[in-house]
């Protein structure tokens, strides 16, 4: 009688514990696939835009971005989500080079202060930073026998940036020797 009870108890323990043994192998496969896919996407897109005030325009261009100097013009409105509601917070547009803030711009007129410019168009601080990057690229190319300075620059600008500011940035880039502009866009789905 006692042995029968013990057998029943053991059986009940086994039957309860059996469903708890979940096979993680298939889940592991799924996560590995997602990881590989994410790494692939990450490797393809050489530019990442994390600033919440930058909304890129949509274009029919199919050209892929390349890894080069990024000059960013942020927008004057930042989108935030609070209590499941989208709110827009005003902020000062800035010119950044490779995530480094170079120049603040007036949020109403999108004008760079006159004392920060030369000859009407050239933004002094931006030119200095670009010349510094150019020198670095040339030095690295000499040391590594790699590709020298190619004059390419990716312009990442908010879609509402007026041409007034864009022209200043382009003239400054050209003045520093960066004459091949690549405008960042969001590809239109075919």
């Amino acid at each position: 009688m006692r042995s029968t009870n013990r057998f029943r108890m053991r059986k009940s323990i086994h039957s309860e514990s059996a469903p708890q043994q979940v096979s993680l192998t298939s889940l592991m496969d799924v996560i590995t696939n997602i990881l590989v896919y994410t790494i692939k996407i990450f490797a393809v897109s050489t530019i990442t835009i994390q600033d919440p005030s930058v909304f890129l325009p949509v274009s029919s261009s199919r050209e892929n971005p390349e890894d080069t100097v990024v000059v960013m013009i942020t927008g004057k409105v930042r989108k935030e989500v609070e209590d499941n509601k989208e709110i827009f917070v005003e902020e000062m547009p800035t010119i950044m080079v490779d995530d480094k803030v170079i120049q603040k711009v007036d949020s109403k007129t999108y004008r760079v202060p006159a004392n920060a410019k030369q000859r009407g168009y050239i933004i002094t601080s931006l030119k200095q930073e670009l010349l510094h990057i150019r020198k670095e690229q040339e030095t690295t190319a000499k040391l590594t026998d790699g590709e020298g300075f190619n004059g390419r620059v990716v312009i990442v600008a908010d879609k509402n940036t007026p041409y007034r500011l864009l022209a200043d940035v382009l003239v400054t880039c050209g003045e520093a020797g960066f004459g091949h502009f690549k405008f960042a866009i969001v590809k239109r789905e075919a």
Binding site: L24, Q50, E63, R164, H180, I185
Partner: protein, 166 residues
């Protein structure tokens, strides 16, 4: 009894502990997803005007020197320095779209398709703009200059003139 225990131990050793590895993988996925914006990003290549652009000085051939000008009121096109509209008024005035006025990019595509038939070997075009025109409109102008409505290649070498129409 000992044999049973030994068998159990060997069975336990046989199963690899994949849960911590899975945690790491999961965290890696999360970090990578957080770092990358899942937008299909691309670029449009342009360049500052060169001596050989438009009027082909290098080859000695006279090109049409096509220019698209984005004005506050619409779009103008110039060929060989002459405005197609005849005067400074826009060739393609802004059109109403809902409660606002927008540039007529479809009209621009049609005009450029006609010009492509006249100059089939030309690939260069220059874009100038009013200081208040926004970047999005400039990108759409570049799109309209590159491809026709039917997907034919028009003027893919877009030069962006770093100067403003005063």
């Amino acid at each position: 009894m000992r044999r049973v225990r030994a068998r159990r131990q060997s069975e336990e050793l046989g199963e690899p502990e994949i849960l911590p590895m899975m945690n790491i993988f999961f965290m890696l996925v999360m970090v990578l997803m957080g770092m990358s914006a899942f937008l299909p990003l691309g670029v449009i290549s342009t360049h500052a005007p060169r001596l050989a652009s438009g009027n082909s000085v290098a080859t000695g051939k006279q090109g049409p020197g096509l220019k698209v000008m984005l004005l506050k009121t619409g779009i103008n096109i110039s060929v060989k320095g002459a405005l197609l509209a005849g005067d400074s008024s826009p060739l393609l005035p802004k059109i109403s779209f809902g409660d606002r006025l927008v540039y007529d990019f479809e009209g621009l595509k049609e005009k450029l398709t006609e010009l492509k038939k006249q100059y089939p070997t030309e690939t260069n075009i220059m874009i100038m703009s009013d200081p208040d025109v926004i970047y999005e409109d400039i990108v759409h102008t570049m799109d309209a200059s590159r491809e026709s409505v039917n997907g034919e290649i028009l003027f893919p070498d877009v030069a962006f003139i770093p100067g403003v129409i005063q």
